[in-house]
């Protein structure tokens, strides 16, 4: 789960990490009022969407007076922002952050995330702040300084100083940065974050360390104990069908192709998408129906897949273990009948009671294309999609 920058900064303030004064707004009027309230100039008008690269995409701009704030708010609110992280469709801006400008002397990068290889969290800083960190990592990896944090010890003072020294800081700024690093780690742990990134973290002209950005990703497995974070969830930032699917405990991710698929198990679902592609088609989605593939789940799965008008054919691929294939077959038949499905459906059922399932499908009277094995299933569904595309 992700949150907006302004929400991240609310968390920062709670943990004592200094950020510029700012006010989130949802309209032009609110934005102008925010400028009046801040009583400072210039201010930064920042688009609030769940993606990086907002500055480059034209979503972060400087305003020197009331009039400029008004014009920029008009321009940015409602615009579709396209950045390297939004995909080609971009995202519509619905919220702004109006923030006091900072007098920047130096820009740094600071982030905490899980190092899967070392099986502990890693704290990274770099003097190359304000730019794409992926580039720095690729071209000058020596400019990223890392310390690994033992989960039982937590972050130690010397590690925080080590990072501050690496940024060539001195005196007051050195102490301030070390403190901020410790607080960042405290916040990261307390909120069950999987990523906490500040880019840029700056040293101001008057020698203070301030976080100009706050990017959080949270461990979705831990949301059950993070009520404050869950409150911050902005559903408008997520695909509506993915949100709908999650209500039925279905794991759905929309893609750009025309072959829908419904599978039990995440690994098999990915492999099904891959084999559709190998057969010359394009998967329209990832959909894992989990361990209970009954009539109700199959019906919900169909509804979600078919809400995407690109879908021309659907492949159901179930490997029955604990789930019995004859039950799944009955579910499929019932769902096809009730929904009056017009899209061709290819069904491959393997495992427990697969033979009984074949008979049910054959004798059902509904037009289902049975398949044996994944290769056969993929070829059949791709052909069906091609045929439907032509008609």
């Amino acid at each position: 789960m992700k949150i907006h920058e302004y929400q991240g900064k609310i968390l920062f303030q709670k943990y004592g990490i200094k950020t510029p004064k700012g006010i989130p707004t949802f309209s032009v009027e609110e934005s102008v009022a925010a400028f009046d309230e801040l009583e400072t100039s210039p201010v930064v008008v920042k688009a609030q969407i769940h993606a990086g690269g907002r500055g480059k995409g034209g979503g972060v701009k400087l305003a020197k007076n009331r009039e400029e704030v008004k014009n920029l708010a008009k321009e940015i609110l409602g615009m579709t922002l396209i950045t390297h992280q939004t995909g080609t469709n971009g995202k519509e801006v619905e919220r702004l952050l109006i923030e006091s400008g900072a007098d920047i002397d130096q820009e740094f990068y600071a982030a905490i995330t899980l190092d899967r290889g070392k099986e502990m969290d890693v704290f990274m800083v770099s003097t190359e702040g304000g730019v794409e960190i992926e580039k720095v990592a690729q071209e000058t990896p020596e400019k990223i300084i890392k310390v690994w944090i033992d989960p039982f010890l937590g972050m130690k003072m010397f590690q925080a100083s080590q990072l501050a020294y690496a940024l060539n800081l001195k005196d007051g700024a050195l102490k301030e940065a070390s403190k901020i690093f410790l607080k960042m780690y405290e916040c990261y742990i307390a909120t069950d974050s999987s990523l906490l990134e500040v880019n840029p973290l700056v040293k101001t002209a008057d020698n203070h360390i301030v976080a100009l950005d706050a990017k959080f990703n949270f461990d979705s497995n831990a949301l059950f104990r993070q009520h404050e974070i869950v409150e911050m969830r902005d559903l408008s930032e997520e695909d509506p069908m993915e949100v709908e699917a999650s209500k039925y405990n279905l794991n759905y991710i929309k893609l750009d192709g025309n072959v829908g698929c419904m599978v039990n198990g995440a690994g098999l679902a990915m492999a099904t998408m891959d084999i559709i592609k190998l057969a010359g088609g394009d998967p329209a989605n990832f959909l894992d129906v989990g361990g209970t593939a009954n009539a109700e789940t199959v019906k919900n799965g169909f509804r979600i897949i078919l809400s995407d008008s690109n879908v021309k054919a659907i492949l159901i691929n179930i490997f029955g273990g604990i789930v019995r294939c004859d039950r799944v077959a009955n579910g499929v038949v019932q769902a096809v009948k009730e929904l009056g499905l017009e899209v061709p459906v290819v069904v491959r059922l393997e495992g427990t009671n697969a033979k009984e399932a074949q008979i049910i499908l054959k004798e059902s009277g509904v037009s289902i294309i049975p398949a044996i094995g994944m290769k056969d299933a993929a070829e059949k569904v791709v052909n069906a999609a091609l045929k439907a595309e032509k008609n």
Binding site: Q85, L114, R116, G117, E119, M120, D121, E134, A137, P151, F152, I189, D192, S194, D219, S220, N221, A222, F224, R225, N251, I253, L255, V263, N264, G265, A266, G267, L268, A269, M270, A271, T272, M273, D274, I275, I276, K277, L278, P283, F286, D288, F319, G320, G321, I322, E350, G351, T352, G373, M374, K375, A378
Partner: protein, 293 residues
């Protein structure tokens, strides 16, 4: 021979009185697994599963009174890491954690404990492990397996069944099949499992099934290149997965570097592993690799 578990494993089921624990314990006993005890805090003193299995409050009691040496965990995600640590400190040597949705922070700690005590933890978020015709410690359908000489290691549940099914159709049976789990932090890694299969005299070939995200497949492949004498067939799921999206498993996310399916398949190939481009080719490729030996 086999790896990690066999007919002599004395199994304690943590969370035995829950619905999952009840259902799968029955299935495991039917398969032949030697379940000696169950644990559910607050229900100690009862007997469960037709009055056959004693229930204790703590794992340590199952170890002391029933000689339990192996555990399987079916407790909710909030308590799973605690259950792992309890089993580890009670002296259990092989722990299988089926639970899906364990917070990563809980797992970084639990992993350090099991490492320190030299324990084999399988999972979490996994289908478990099966030694064919001897012992099933998990939720997989046992009947699809056939006894033979191939080891199976996989990050995914149903994809493991798919691979086993294809092996059987290709005339190849299995020694042990392990679902290692799809989370960012898991106990026994792909490399650890390869090393166990290399040592096992009965296993003559291995199938590894990975997916996008992390470096585990690459670490295993590089180790295999230097140390493995038995043929390996590899498959990586997620060739069509969009970057930055979590594909069902918590760990299945492309986040930069060599963690795409394409990169992993290339590196597996460079390390001498027979890479199946299509999931449908796993069985046939293994058959060919075994004939070529």
């Amino acid at each position: 021979m086999s790896i990690l578990i066999n007919k002599n494993s004395n199994v304690v089921v943590q969370g035995i009185t829950g619905s999952e624990g009840q259902f799968h314990s029955k299935q495991m006993i039917e398969y032949g697994t030697n379940i000696v005890a169950g644990v559910t805090p607050g229900k100690g003193g009862q007997k469960t599963l037709d009055d056959n299995v004693p229930v204790y409050n703590m794992v340590i009691e199952a170890v002391e009174k029933e000689n339990a040496n192996t555990s399987i965990i079916f407790v909710p995600p909030a308590f799973a890491a605690d259950a792992i640590i309890e089993a580890a400190l009670a002296g259990i040597k092989v722990i299988v954690c089926i639970t899906e949705g364990v917070p990563v922070q809980d797992m970084t700690k639990a992993k350090q404990i099991v490492k320190k005590h030299n324990i084999h933890l399988i999972g979490p978020n996994c289908p478990g492990i099966i030694t064919v015709d001897e012992c099933k410690l998990g939720i997989m359908p046992g009947f699809i397996c056939k006894k033979g000489n191939i080891g199976v290691i996989s990050k995914s549940g149903t994809l493991t069944y798919e691979a086993i099914d294809q092996l059987v159709h290709a005339g190849l049976g299995q020694t042990t099949a392990i679902g290692i789990g799809g989370d960012p932090i898991i106990g026994t890694t792909m490399k650890d499992c390869l090393a166990l299969f290399e040592e096992d005299v009965e296993t003559e070939g291995v199938v590894i099934i990975g997916e996008i995200g992390g470096q585990m497949e690459i670490e295993a492949a590089k180790w295999a290149k230097e140390n493995m004498t038995k043929p390996i067939v590899g498959f990586i799921a997620g060739q069509t997965a969009p970057p930055g999206r979590r594909m069902g498993h918590a760990g299945a996310i492309v986040s930069g570097g060599d963690d795409t399916a394409e990169a992993k398949m290339r590196i597996l190939g460079e390390c001498g592993i027979n890479v199946a481009k299509s999931v449908a080719d796993i069985g046939e490729l293994m058959k060919k690799a075994m004939e070529k030996r």
